[in-house]
Protein backbone atom coordinates (compact mmCIF):
# COMPACT_ATOMS: atom_id res chain seq x y z
CA UNK A 1 0.00 0.00 0.00
CA UNK A 2 1.52 3.36 -1.00
CA UNK A 3 0.69 6.85 0.21
CA UNK A 4 -0.21 9.70 -2.12
CA UNK A 5 0.79 13.33 -1.39
CA UNK A 6 -2.56 14.08 0.28
CA UNK A 7 -1.90 11.36 2.84
CA UNK A 8 -4.55 8.98 1.51
CA UNK A 9 -3.51 5.39 1.11
CA UNK A 10 -3.76 4.49 -2.55
CA UNK A 11 -5.51 1.24 -1.70
CA UNK A 12 -8.30 3.32 -0.13
CA UNK A 13 -8.91 5.50 -3.16
CA UNK A 14 -9.29 2.82 -5.78
CA UNK A 15 -12.65 1.48 -6.81
CA UNK A 16 -13.42 -2.04 -5.66
CA UNK A 17 -13.90 -4.83 -8.19
CA UNK A 18 -17.65 -4.78 -7.64
CA UNK A 19 -17.92 -1.01 -8.06
CA UNK A 20 -15.77 -1.22 -11.24
CA UNK A 21 -17.98 -4.01 -12.50
CA UNK A 22 -21.13 -1.87 -12.17
CA UNK A 23 -19.42 1.24 -13.54
CA UNK A 24 -17.90 -0.55 -16.54
CA UNK A 25 -21.20 -2.18 -17.42
CA UNK A 26 -22.82 1.27 -17.51
CA UNK A 27 -19.92 2.66 -19.58
CA UNK A 28 -20.25 -0.16 -22.10
CA UNK A 29 -23.95 0.46 -22.58
CA UNK A 30 -24.22 4.26 -22.58
CA UNK A 31 -21.71 6.77 -23.95
CA UNK A 32 -23.67 9.69 -22.45
CA UNK A 33 -23.60 8.14 -19.00
CA UNK A 34 -19.93 7.24 -19.37
CA UNK A 35 -19.11 10.86 -20.07
CA UNK A 36 -21.00 12.21 -17.07
CA UNK A 37 -19.96 9.52 -14.58
CA UNK A 38 -16.27 9.38 -15.52
CA UNK A 39 -16.07 13.15 -15.13
CA UNK A 40 -17.62 12.92 -11.66
CA UNK A 41 -15.57 9.92 -10.48
CA UNK A 42 -12.25 11.40 -11.58
CA UNK A 43 -12.18 13.92 -8.76
CA UNK A 44 -13.43 11.86 -5.82
CA UNK A 45 -11.65 11.67 -2.48
CA UNK A 46 -10.81 8.67 -0.29
CA UNK A 47 -14.02 9.03 1.73
CA UNK A 48 -16.10 8.77 -1.43
CA UNK A 49 -14.34 5.58 -2.47
CA UNK A 50 -14.71 4.12 0.99
CA UNK A 51 -18.47 4.72 0.86
CA UNK A 52 -18.88 3.71 -2.79
CA UNK A 53 -16.92 0.48 -2.39
CA UNK A 54 -18.80 -0.45 0.78
CA UNK A 55 -22.04 0.23 -1.05
CA UNK A 56 -21.20 -1.89 -4.10
CA UNK A 57 -19.62 -4.65 -2.01
CA UNK A 58 -22.81 -4.90 0.08
CA UNK A 59 -25.42 -4.22 -2.60
CA UNK A 60 -24.37 -6.96 -5.01
CA UNK A 61 -24.59 -9.80 -2.45
CA UNK A 62 -27.96 -8.39 -1.25
CA UNK A 63 -29.21 -8.32 -4.81
CA UNK A 64 -28.00 -11.85 -5.34
CA UNK A 65 -30.02 -12.97 -2.31
CA UNK A 66 -33.08 -11.32 -3.87
CA UNK A 67 -32.37 -13.10 -7.16
CA UNK A 68 -31.25 -9.91 -8.91
CA UNK A 69 -28.34 -10.09 -11.39
CA UNK A 70 -25.77 -7.23 -11.54
CA UNK A 71 -26.66 -6.68 -15.19
CA UNK A 72 -30.29 -6.15 -14.13
CA UNK A 73 -29.16 -3.45 -11.67
CA UNK A 74 -27.29 -1.66 -14.44
CA UNK A 75 -30.18 -2.05 -16.87
CA UNK A 76 -32.47 -0.65 -14.16
CA UNK A 77 -30.21 2.36 -13.78
CA UNK A 78 -30.12 2.95 -17.54
CA UNK A 79 -33.90 2.50 -17.75
CA UNK A 80 -34.29 5.17 -15.06
CA UNK A 81 -31.96 7.52 -16.99
CA UNK A 82 -33.89 6.81 -20.19
CA UNK A 83 -37.22 7.48 -18.46
CA UNK A 84 -35.90 10.73 -17.01
CA UNK A 85 -34.67 11.87 -20.41
CA UNK A 86 -38.10 11.15 -21.89
CA UNK A 87 -39.82 13.02 -19.04
CA UNK A 88 -37.46 15.96 -19.48
CA UNK A 89 -38.32 16.13 -23.17
CA UNK A 90 -42.06 16.10 -22.37
CA UNK A 91 -41.45 18.79 -19.75
CA UNK A 92 -39.56 20.99 -22.19
CA UNK A 93 -42.42 20.69 -24.65
CA UNK A 94 -45.23 21.39 -22.18
CA UNK A 95 -43.70 23.07 -19.10
CA UNK A 96 -45.58 20.53 -16.95
CA UNK A 97 -44.88 17.20 -15.27
CA UNK A 98 -46.64 14.39 -17.13
CA UNK A 99 -47.97 12.65 -14.00
CA UNK A 100 -51.29 14.18 -12.95
CA UNK A 101 -51.72 12.89 -9.40
CA UNK A 102 -50.17 10.88 -6.61
CA UNK A 103 -52.87 8.23 -7.11
CA UNK A 104 -51.73 7.80 -10.70
CA UNK A 105 -48.08 7.49 -9.61
CA UNK A 106 -49.15 4.97 -6.96
CA UNK A 107 -50.92 2.67 -9.40
CA UNK A 108 -48.39 3.06 -12.23
CA UNK A 109 -45.14 3.01 -10.24
CA UNK A 110 -45.25 2.26 -6.50
CA UNK A 111 -47.55 -0.75 -6.75
CA UNK A 112 -45.73 -2.31 -9.70
CA UNK A 113 -42.99 -4.67 -8.53
CA UNK A 114 -41.21 -4.56 -11.87
CA UNK A 115 -41.25 -0.77 -12.20
CA UNK A 116 -40.58 0.09 -8.56
CA UNK A 117 -37.80 -2.44 -7.99
CA UNK A 118 -35.95 -1.25 -11.09
CA UNK A 119 -36.49 2.39 -10.13
CA UNK A 120 -35.18 1.90 -6.58
CA UNK A 121 -32.12 -0.04 -7.76
CA UNK A 122 -31.41 2.66 -10.33
CA UNK A 123 -31.76 5.41 -7.74
CA UNK A 124 -29.53 3.52 -5.29
CA UNK A 125 -26.56 3.37 -7.64
CA UNK A 126 -27.17 6.95 -8.79
CA UNK A 127 -26.07 7.98 -5.27
CA UNK A 128 -22.52 7.19 -6.36
CA UNK A 129 -22.77 8.09 -10.05
CA UNK A 130 -24.49 11.48 -9.95
CA UNK A 131 -22.75 14.51 -8.43
CA UNK A 132 -25.93 15.96 -6.88
CA UNK A 133 -27.17 12.70 -5.41
CA UNK A 134 -23.81 12.08 -3.79
CA UNK A 135 -23.58 15.69 -2.56
CA UNK A 136 -26.99 15.40 -0.86
CA UNK A 137 -26.09 12.03 0.66
CA UNK A 138 -22.83 13.52 1.97
CA UNK A 139 -24.71 16.59 3.29
CA UNK A 140 -27.17 14.30 5.08
CA UNK A 141 -24.41 12.31 6.80
CA UNK A 142 -22.58 15.49 7.75
CA UNK A 143 -25.68 17.30 9.13
CA UNK A 144 -27.04 14.23 10.89
CA UNK A 145 -23.65 13.69 12.50
CA UNK A 146 -24.04 17.04 14.27
CA UNK A 147 -27.21 15.93 16.07
CA UNK A 148 -27.17 14.60 19.57
CA UNK A 149 -29.90 13.07 21.69
CA UNK A 150 -31.84 11.27 18.99
CA UNK A 151 -33.97 8.72 20.83
CA UNK A 152 -36.81 8.27 18.37
CA UNK A 153 -36.21 8.31 14.63
CA UNK A 154 -38.77 8.22 11.82
CA UNK A 155 -38.03 7.91 8.13
CA UNK A 156 -40.77 8.60 5.61
CA UNK A 157 -40.29 6.85 2.26
CA UNK A 158 -36.92 5.15 2.84
CA UNK A 159 -36.91 4.00 -0.80
CA UNK A 160 -33.68 2.09 -1.42
CA UNK A 161 -32.77 2.43 2.27
CA UNK A 162 -29.34 4.08 2.00
CA UNK A 163 -30.17 7.10 4.18
CA UNK A 164 -31.79 4.83 6.74
CA UNK A 165 -28.63 2.72 6.83
CA UNK A 166 -26.55 5.82 7.65
CA UNK A 167 -28.96 6.80 10.44
CA UNK A 168 -28.89 3.30 11.92
CA UNK A 169 -25.09 3.60 12.03
CA UNK A 170 -25.19 7.09 13.57
CA UNK A 171 -27.88 6.77 16.25
CA UNK A 172 -27.03 3.51 17.93
CA UNK A 173 -29.49 3.76 20.83
CA UNK A 174 -32.53 5.23 19.08
CA UNK A 175 -35.80 3.46 18.28
CA UNK A 176 -36.31 3.39 14.53
CA UNK A 177 -39.53 3.54 12.52
CA UNK A 178 -39.95 3.76 8.76
CA UNK A 179 -43.15 4.25 6.76
CA UNK A 180 -43.44 3.74 3.03
CA UNK A 181 -46.53 3.15 0.93
CA UNK A 182 -44.68 0.89 -1.50
CA UNK A 183 -44.31 -2.77 -0.41
CA UNK A 184 -41.52 -3.18 -2.95
CA UNK A 185 -39.59 -0.29 -1.48
CA UNK A 186 -39.98 -1.73 2.01
CA UNK A 187 -38.72 -5.12 0.86
CA UNK A 188 -35.58 -3.52 -0.57
CA UNK A 189 -35.01 -1.24 2.44
CA UNK A 190 -35.36 -4.23 4.82
CA UNK A 191 -32.80 -6.22 2.81
CA UNK A 192 -30.41 -3.25 2.65
CA UNK A 193 -30.55 -2.46 6.37
CA UNK A 194 -30.10 -6.12 7.31
CA UNK A 195 -27.03 -6.36 5.09
CA UNK A 196 -25.41 -3.01 5.99
CA UNK A 197 -26.23 -2.86 9.71
CA UNK A 198 -27.20 -6.40 10.78
CA UNK A 199 -27.02 -5.63 14.51
CA UNK A 200 -29.60 -2.80 14.35
CA UNK A 201 -33.34 -2.97 13.83
CA UNK A 202 -36.09 -0.77 12.43
CA UNK A 203 -39.86 -1.21 12.45
CA UNK A 204 -41.23 -0.87 8.91
CA UNK A 205 -44.84 0.12 8.29
CA UNK A 206 -46.50 -0.06 4.90
CA UNK A 207 -48.72 3.00 4.88
CA UNK A 208 -49.23 6.55 3.79
CA UNK A 209 -47.61 8.96 6.23
CA UNK A 210 -50.87 10.94 6.34
CA UNK A 211 -52.52 7.99 8.08
CA UNK A 212 -49.52 7.19 10.30
CA UNK A 213 -50.55 7.36 13.95
CA UNK A 214 -47.78 7.29 16.53
CA UNK A 215 -50.13 7.90 19.47
CA UNK A 216 -48.46 10.21 21.96
CA UNK A 217 -44.99 9.36 20.69
CA UNK A 218 -43.00 12.16 19.11
CA UNK A 219 -39.77 11.92 17.14
CA UNK A 220 -36.49 13.75 17.71
CA UNK A 221 -35.46 13.32 14.11
CA UNK A 222 -37.53 12.72 10.98
CA UNK A 223 -35.99 12.12 7.59
CA UNK A 224 -37.96 12.38 4.37
CA UNK A 225 -35.88 12.25 1.19
CA UNK A 226 -37.28 12.62 -2.32
CA UNK A 227 -40.92 12.45 -1.20
CA UNK A 228 -42.43 15.96 -1.37
CA UNK A 229 -42.37 16.10 -5.17
CA UNK A 230 -44.37 12.85 -5.29
CA UNK A 231 -47.35 14.29 -3.41
CA UNK A 232 -50.49 16.14 -4.42
CA UNK A 233 -50.20 18.48 -1.44
CA UNK A 234 -46.74 18.47 0.16
CA UNK A 235 -47.69 21.19 2.65
CA UNK A 236 -50.12 18.79 4.36
CA UNK A 237 -47.32 16.28 4.91
CA UNK A 238 -44.91 18.92 6.18
CA UNK A 239 -47.62 20.02 8.64
CA UNK A 240 -48.12 16.41 9.71
CA UNK A 241 -44.39 15.85 10.22
CA UNK A 242 -44.04 19.04 12.25
CA UNK A 243 -46.79 17.71 14.52
CA UNK A 244 -44.85 14.46 14.94
CA UNK A 245 -41.63 16.21 16.02
CA UNK A 246 -40.60 16.75 19.62
CA UNK A 247 -40.14 20.33 20.73
CA UNK A 248 -36.91 21.34 19.02
CA UNK A 249 -36.91 18.19 16.87
CA UNK A 250 -35.28 18.19 13.44
CA UNK A 251 -36.59 17.27 10.03
CA UNK A 252 -34.26 16.52 7.14
CA UNK A 253 -35.71 16.76 3.65
CA UNK A 254 -34.54 16.47 0.08
CA UNK A 255 -36.61 17.44 -2.94
CA UNK A 256 -36.15 19.15 -6.28
CA UNK A 257 -37.49 21.92 -8.48
CA UNK A 258 -38.26 21.72 -12.21
CA UNK A 259 -37.26 18.05 -12.18
CA UNK A 260 -39.60 15.82 -14.19
CA UNK A 261 -39.59 12.06 -13.51
CA UNK A 262 -42.01 9.19 -14.03
CA UNK A 263 -43.55 9.67 -10.58
CA UNK A 264 -43.08 13.36 -9.84
CA UNK A 265 -46.40 15.10 -9.29
CA UNK A 266 -45.91 18.36 -7.39
CA UNK A 267 -43.99 20.90 -9.42
CA UNK A 268 -41.79 23.17 -7.31
CA UNK A 269 -41.07 26.03 -9.68
CA UNK A 270 -37.98 27.39 -7.89
CA UNK A 271 -35.79 27.03 -4.82
CA UNK A 272 -37.73 29.90 -3.21
CA UNK A 273 -40.97 28.02 -3.84
CA UNK A 274 -39.60 25.16 -1.69
CA UNK A 275 -38.39 27.55 1.01
CA UNK A 276 -41.75 29.30 1.11
CA UNK A 277 -43.58 26.03 1.68
CA UNK A 278 -41.18 25.12 4.49
CA UNK A 279 -41.94 28.45 6.17
CA UNK A 280 -45.70 28.00 5.59
CA UNK A 281 -45.47 24.71 7.47
CA UNK A 282 -44.04 26.55 10.49
CA UNK A 283 -40.56 25.12 10.03
CA UNK A 284 -37.26 26.93 9.96
CA UNK A 285 -34.23 26.20 7.82
CA UNK A 286 -31.07 25.50 9.79
CA UNK A 287 -28.89 24.59 6.82
CA UNK A 288 -29.51 23.87 3.14
CA UNK A 289 -27.93 23.11 -0.19
CA UNK A 290 -29.37 23.84 -3.65
CA UNK A 291 -27.58 22.15 -6.52
CA UNK A 292 -28.23 22.80 -10.22
CA UNK A 293 -28.51 19.66 -12.32
CA UNK A 294 -26.96 21.23 -15.42
CA UNK A 295 -25.14 24.48 -14.59
CA UNK A 296 -23.70 26.52 -17.46
CA UNK A 297 -20.08 25.94 -18.41
CA UNK A 298 -19.04 28.82 -16.13
CA UNK A 299 -20.96 27.25 -13.20
CA UNK A 300 -23.76 29.81 -13.23
CA UNK A 301 -27.45 28.86 -13.00
CA UNK A 302 -30.88 30.31 -12.33
CA UNK A 303 -32.51 29.08 -9.06
CA UNK A 304 -35.82 30.53 -10.29
CA UNK A 305 -36.07 28.33 -13.38
CA UNK A 306 -33.39 25.66 -13.68
CA UNK A 307 -33.66 22.03 -12.62
CA UNK A 308 -32.26 21.78 -9.12
CA UNK A 309 -31.80 19.33 -6.25
CA UNK A 310 -32.45 20.68 -2.77
CA UNK A 311 -31.68 19.38 0.73
CA UNK A 312 -32.27 21.04 4.10
CA UNK A 313 -32.13 20.44 7.82
CA UNK A 314 -35.26 21.97 9.39
CA UNK A 315 -36.22 22.92 12.89
CA UNK A 316 -39.66 22.70 14.48
CA UNK A 317 -39.41 25.26 17.27
CA UNK A 318 -39.46 29.04 17.45
CA UNK A 319 -36.36 29.44 19.59
CA UNK A 320 -33.96 28.48 16.81
CA UNK A 321 -31.28 31.01 17.73
CA UNK A 322 -31.10 29.70 21.30
CA UNK A 323 -30.77 26.13 20.09
CA UNK A 324 -28.07 26.55 17.44
Amino acid sequence: MSIDPSGNSRADIEASDRFCFLRDLVYAKSPLQKKMISSFLSGRDALFWQRANMFADTLLPVAEQLGIEPSYIVDSYLKMCHDMLVEQIKYRRTGRYSRESAAEAYSEVYQSKKVMEAYMLGLAISQFFWPNHYAMYDFFISESGKLGGVNKYLEVGPGHGLYLVESLKLFGHASFFAVDLSPISIQLAVAMTKAFVPDRSCRFLEKNVNTFDSGKDRFDYIVMCEVLEHLDCPLLVLDKLRSLLTDGGRLFITTCSNCPAIDHVYHFKSVDHIRQMIRNAGLQIISEIALPVQPDSDGSWNPEADECNYAAMLYSGNDIHDRL
Binding site: P31, Q33, M36, Q88, Q294
Partner: protein
Protein backbone atom coordinates in the same frame (compact mmCIF):
# COMPACT_ATOMS: atom_id res chain seq x y z
CA UNK B 1 -30.80 19.94 -45.09
CA UNK B 2 -27.54 18.24 -44.10
CA UNK B 3 -25.71 21.56 -43.96
CA UNK B 4 -28.39 22.97 -41.67
CA UNK B 5 -28.06 19.93 -39.38
CA UNK B 6 -24.29 20.36 -39.14
CA UNK B 7 -24.77 24.05 -38.31
CA UNK B 8 -27.27 23.25 -35.55
CA UNK B 9 -25.09 20.51 -34.05
CA UNK B 10 -22.10 22.86 -34.14
CA UNK B 11 -24.05 25.71 -32.53
CA UNK B 12 -25.48 23.55 -29.72
CA UNK B 13 -22.21 21.73 -29.03
CA UNK B 14 -20.24 24.98 -29.41
CA UNK B 15 -17.84 23.53 -32.00
CA UNK B 16 -17.02 24.57 -35.56
CA UNK B 17 -19.46 22.78 -37.87
CA UNK B 18 -16.57 22.09 -40.26
CA UNK B 19 -15.00 19.78 -37.68
CA UNK B 20 -18.09 17.53 -37.67
CA UNK B 21 -18.87 14.52 -39.83
CA UNK B 22 -21.48 11.76 -39.88
CA UNK B 23 -19.61 9.81 -37.19
CA UNK B 24 -19.56 12.78 -34.77
CA UNK B 25 -21.17 11.62 -31.53
CA UNK B 26 -20.89 11.91 -27.73
CA UNK B 27 -17.75 9.78 -28.08
CA UNK B 28 -16.00 12.29 -30.34
CA UNK B 29 -17.51 15.66 -29.29
CA UNK B 30 -16.49 16.53 -25.74
CA UNK B 31 -19.42 18.85 -25.01
CA UNK B 32 -22.11 16.38 -26.22
CA UNK B 33 -23.69 15.32 -22.93
CA UNK B 34 -27.30 14.44 -22.07
CA UNK B 35 -28.34 18.08 -21.52
CA UNK B 36 -26.81 19.17 -24.82
CA UNK B 37 -28.41 16.18 -26.51
CA UNK B 38 -31.83 17.39 -25.37
CA UNK B 39 -31.04 20.95 -26.50
CA UNK B 40 -30.06 19.51 -29.86
CA UNK B 41 -33.24 17.50 -30.22
CA UNK B 42 -35.42 20.47 -29.31
CA UNK B 43 -33.58 22.74 -31.77
CA UNK B 44 -33.91 20.20 -34.58
CA UNK B 45 -37.63 19.80 -33.87
CA UNK B 46 -38.11 23.55 -34.00
CA UNK B 47 -36.01 24.06 -37.13
CA UNK B 48 -37.60 21.26 -39.16
CA UNK B 49 -41.12 21.42 -37.70
CA UNK B 50 -41.12 17.79 -36.58
CA UNK B 51 -41.67 15.91 -33.30
CA UNK B 52 -39.33 13.00 -32.62
CA UNK B 53 -40.53 9.88 -30.85
CA UNK B 54 -38.92 8.91 -27.53
CA UNK B 55 -37.06 6.07 -29.24
CA UNK B 56 -35.73 8.34 -31.97
CA UNK B 57 -34.41 10.80 -29.40
CA UNK B 58 -32.56 8.07 -27.55
CA UNK B 59 -31.24 6.48 -30.73
CA UNK B 60 -29.98 9.57 -32.59
CA UNK B 61 -26.54 9.40 -31.07
CA UNK B 62 -24.48 10.54 -34.04
CA UNK B 63 -24.87 13.05 -36.85
CA UNK B 64 -25.38 10.32 -39.45
CA UNK B 65 -28.33 8.89 -37.54
CA UNK B 66 -29.81 12.36 -37.13
CA UNK B 67 -29.63 12.95 -40.89
CA UNK B 68 -31.11 9.51 -41.58
CA UNK B 69 -33.97 10.00 -39.11
CA UNK B 70 -34.86 13.45 -40.39
CA UNK B 71 -34.76 12.21 -43.97
CA UNK B 72 -37.13 9.44 -43.00
CA UNK B 73 -39.57 11.73 -41.17
CA UNK B 74 -39.56 14.49 -43.77
CA UNK B 75 -39.80 11.98 -46.60
CA UNK B 76 -42.96 10.61 -45.02
CA UNK B 77 -44.55 14.03 -44.59
Amino acid sequence: MEEKIYQIVGRIMRVNADTLDKDSSPDTVASWDSAKHMDLMMSLEQEFGVEFSEEQIIEMMNVGLIIETLNEILGKK
